[in-house]
């Protein structure tokens, strides 16, 4: 790498700022030219030289700053040279257009239309390509297509490794834990295309080798492992990684890397054979999402605001149960004299996971609708006059874990039905028509359900 004077580099760093000017101006100029071909207009024509002049000036400025920035190194050479050629070509073409527009050269008049066609279409093509190469240099190869629909992406990049691990005994420390963490948090900058700081993090050897400054990881020594030092600095520190406002590693991720390094940074080893203590086991369980509640794997699109405002106007309480998954709790607590309009719940069927309709005149008829709210995990219908006829509708709920029917007319025969709900864990039937025989039968039918029906 060449030594670049600081002042140059300072100018070079403006490249990401300048670079958007020619993009905008060139797109504008192209549209402008097309419009003039469609509807020639002399007074608008007079503006053309100014537009092309600005385009040329900003292109040259971008190309110059880009060239200086590239001297700093750390980019994929192949894409960099493509980007460089594209940028220079665009600058030259813009200057050509400026000259064509400004000097209306007489000897060119006969070729004018053809020349213009060629120049304008090459500008369009080069603009697209150069922009794409530039984006690849900054954001990495798979940035553009990572979340594109219908494209099969590398499974590790989306962190769905967790679903593949069903117990700690089947997890490998590097392949299943360390590499996915590094993949998700570090590789977007430290890959073959970008190689920031000369550091590659796409393989085990590269992680140990490190980058320009120091070795990346020293097995058994977190204190001298540069990668570990960088990720555990205060986020405001200028050497903190990941930089540039990207999501930092979570506490669990750091703890896993720390433990891995302390244990000798093994390349192939089952986690269970490394004798993790209780605390580390818990961290891994969290990381692999073992034994967690089913609801945590469910998320929905945001509910429509009309549906929500209709619910609020009708007197329902609506609460988001957490910020990240768009799931909702709806509550209506009586006593209520008016018949509540449950059909308002249908538009938020996907989001509705907890429903509490308490002492508010829900009838057997209403349960048809409630039985169709297939994403309910928790359903509380206490103190409504509903009977066995209605409860049959609830058998359709595939996810429900908590069912509260105290103070209803539920009887023994319904209990037998309800305990067959596939996910049911808790059933509340105090002050109903059940008796201890019915409860016993229910418990025999499904011992996994905890049935609460009287004081103990």
């Amino acid at each position: 790498m060449q030594e670049v004077p600081d002042l140059y580099m300072f100018f070079g760093r403006f490249h990401p700022l300048f670079v958007h000017l020619p993009i905008g101006i060139l797109v504008f100029a192209l549209i402008f030219e097309l419009y003039l071909r469609w509807k020639p207009n002399a007074s608008l024509h007079a503006v053309l030289p100014i537009v092309w002049g600005l385009a040329a000036l900003s292109s040259v400025l971008s190309a110059l700053s880009g060239y200086i920035l590239s001297l700093g190194g750390g980019y994929n050479e192949e894409i960099l040279s493509l980007h460089k050629i594209g940028g220079i070509t665009l600058s030259i073409l813009s200057i050509c257009c400026f000259i064509l527009a400004f000097y209306r050269l007489p000897w060119l008049a006969s070729y004018r239309k053809t020349t213009q066609k060629i120049v304008l279409s090459s500008i369009a093509v080069f603009l697209l390509l150069t922009g794409h190469w530039g984006g690849t240099l900054t954001h990495g190869n798979d940035y553009l297509m990572e979340y594109a629909p219908f494209v099969q992406t590398d499974s590790t990049s989306k962190l769905d490794h967790a679903s593949r691990i069903s117990s700690l005994d089947s997890a490998d420390i590097f392949k299943d834990a360390v590499q996915p963490i590094v993949q998700s948090k570090c590789v977007s900058c430290h890959n073959a295309e970008k190689k920031k700081g000369g550091l590659l993090l796409t393989s085990y050897e590269e992680m140990l080798a490190g980058g320009k400054t120091k070795a990346g990881i020293i097995p058994g020594n977190t204190a001298t492992s540069e990668i570990f030092r960088r990720i555990t600095l205060p986020p405001s520190h200028k050497e903190f990684m990941p930089t540039g406002g990207k999501k930092p590693l979570t506490e669990n991720q750091i703890a896993i890397l720390e433990w891995w390094i302390d244990q000798g940074a093994q390349r192939n080893m089952m986690i269970s054979s490394m004798k993790p203590n209780k605390h580390i086991q818990d961290i891994f369980s969290d990381f692999f999402q073992l034994g967690r509640d089913a609801i945590l794997s469910y998320a929905a699109k945001p509910a429509s605001s009309e549906a929500l405002s209709d619910l609020l106007k009708a007197g329902f309480q609506v609460h988001a149960i957490s910020e990240s998954n768009n799931l909702l709790e709806v509550k209506y607590s009586g006593p209520s004299n008016e018949k509540i309009n449950l059909s308002l719940l249908e538009p938020i069927k996907d989001q509705l996971v907890w429903l509490q309709l308490i002492n508010c005149g829900v009838t057997d008829e209403d349960l048809k609708l409630i039985g169709g709210l297939s994403n309910l995990y928790k359903l509380n219908l206490n103190r409504n006059k509903i009977s066995d006829r209605g409860f049959n509708e609830l058998i359709r709920l595939p996810k429900v874990e908590y069912l509260n029917l105290y103070g209803t007319l539920v009887s023994d025969s319904a209990i037998n039905q309800l305990v067959t709900l596939p996910k049911l864990k808790k059933l509340y039937v105090w002050e109903s028509r059940v008796d201890s025989l019915g409860i016993e039968a229910g418990k025999r039918a499904n011992p996994k359900v905890d049935i609460v029906y009287k004081l103990n």
Partner: protein, 488 residues
């Protein structure tokens, strides 16, 4: 003031800053935590608009799904003796009467009247499927142990009531910080527009440190506790004085018009807006409070469960408060704290520097049956799944006597328990030494307790911050680890 004439040049006034903080930072923090309605923006339509905005906008930061939605904090004022309640120590029996300083290093105590090692006057027995040891003091609570997670390794930073109370309630030993109930409401908002989100059920004893244990500190004033007293009139003037229907409404409407006129001439003025919303809340409470405190819809069996038929007036009084706590939970009040009744007999609070036997027995008798009743009632109604019940004092007591029949303060070890939403019932966590004097394994600090409580409510204690005096404050300051071992 002159600066009102130059709207584009004047600096932000303190009042406006407060206003911005109230609905600005507050909503931002809240959205990122839970996305529910901020009660300080309590103007109904505005609140609903906010809610819609919160619910439909994209995610800002990951909150997580709560295990509990409400907290009932059973505060055992004065400090229950751990070695007489939940942490049996056979060695005290063996060495009863010997000099403690010959056995272990004795720290300075409040009164430094160190007596002999004192065995527990009560015997312990194992209860429930988990086999938790509970002393004779709590025969009713002992029947609920399979729903409780006991922590025997609590430590506090302060050996004296006032500081220890502030520490327990606000996470700081000094006066003036926001109470945990205020933090919870700041973070999560209230589910009920007709009741305040943080209610203090005053059993008769306001703890040392006074009402500053229950204040909002630097958080907006709407988050401080509202106090409900025992007896016929829980809040002053809760019954309308005007006998003719409609008169009060007209008066209030007139008052509101006048306030609005004043408000329009002042611009943004937090005090006037707060006054308007206070009047509105007070009016709503005239109907919501009598409905809340009227137990006529409660069956006799339930009243009995809480000990409302007890011979002991203090049991009846605390039982009514526990029943009220359940009714508040049903109405969506986020944070409810119960203070202890004044049991008399020269044994106020659990603070038995002398006469341990009588004092602890009177206090235990007042709270034991009501607390067990509360746990059982919550469980029957399916509410224990979403309510966290916390039972704790501010510190513990010494295993050796003060004088010859009391125990002095001991912040180095005490027992507390939690039950309900997200708690692994039947857990026993942490250990003390053979005398129950110090923690030897898994110490749990007050900050850890706060972090765990917030965690169960779906709040990361490190994300719940409020900027004041130039820095971000948290309930847990720079401390706190969630006690994962007691979580289900």
């Amino acid at each position: 003031m002159t600066h009102h004439k130059h709207p584009f040049q004047r600096p932000v006034s303190r009042r406006e800053m407060l206003d911005i903080c109230k609905c600005g930072f507050g909503s931002v923090a809240m959205v990122s935590l839970f996305g529910s309605l901020l009660p300080s923006c309590s103007n109904a339509t505005r609140g609903k608009d906010d809610l819609i905005n919160h619910l439909t906008r994209g995610s800002i930061a990951p909150g997580f799904i709560p295990k509990a939605k409400n907290i009932i904090f059973l505060y055992m004022d004065g400090g229950v003796s751990q070695v007489d309640s939940f942490d049996p120590k056979p060695r005290l029996e063996k060495e009863n009467g010997s000099d403690p300083s010959s056995k272990f290093k004795v720290d300075a105590t409040q009164f430094n009247n160190v007596g002999k090692i004192l065995k527990s006057p009560w015997s312990f027995s194992k209860h429930g499927e988990c086999g938790m040891d509970v002393s004779e003091l709590f025969p009713h609570i002992a029947t609920c142990v399979d729903d409780m997670a006991l922590i025997r390794s609590m430590v506090s930073n302060f050996p004296e009531h006032t500081n220890a109370n502030y520490f327990l309630h606000t996470g700081s030993g000094l006066q003036g910080r926001p109470s945990m109930g205020a933090w919870v409401n700041y973070g999560l908002g209230s589910e009920n527009n007709n009741l305040p989100g943080y209610v203090l059920l005053d059993g008769g004893l306001i703890p040392p440190g006074g009402l500053d244990n229950f204040k909002n500190g630097f958080l907006p004033a709407a988050f401080q506790s509202s106090i409900l007293h025992t007896g016929a009139e829980p809040i002053a003037n809760i019954k309308p004085i005007d006998s003719i229907a409609g008169i009060q409404e007209e008066k209030l409407a007139f008052l509101k018009r006048r306030d609005k006129t004043l408000l329009s001439s002042l611009g943004a003025a937090d005090e006037v807006e707060s006054a308007i919303s206070n009047y509105e809340m007070a009016y709503k409470m005239q109907s919501s409070i009598p409905e809340l405190t009227d137990f006529k819809e409660e069956s006799e069996a339930i009243k009995k469960l809480y000990g409302l038929d007890s011979q002991d007036p203090h049991t009846r009084s605390y039982g009514a408060q526990c029943l009220m706590a359940r009714r508040l939970v049903e109405r969506g009040v986020r944070f409810i704290e119960l203070t202890c009744p004044s049991v008399g007999n020269g044994a106020d609070r659990w603070d038995q520097h002398a006469n341990l036997k009588l004092g602890h027995e009177s206090n235990a008798h007042a709270v034991d049956q009501p607390i067990a009743g509360l746990l059982k009632d919550l469980k029957l109604r399916g509410l224990l799944d979403e309510t966290l019940v916390v039972w704790t004092g501010e510190f513990g007591r010494t295993p050796f006597a003060q004088g010859d029949d009391g125990r002095d303060h001991n912040p180095s070890a005490f027992s507390m328990w939690m039950a309900g939403g997200g708690v692994k019932g039947g857990t026993i966590f942490g250990t003390t030494d053979d005398y129950g004097y110090r923690v030897v394994d898994n110490p749990v600090t007050i900050h850890d307790l706060h972090a765990t409580m917030l965690h169960l409510l779906g709040v990361d204690h490190k994300q719940l911050t409020f900027r004041f005096g130039g820095r971000d404050f948290r309930l847990t300051d720079v401390h706190g680890n969630v006690v994962k071992d007691i979580l289900a």
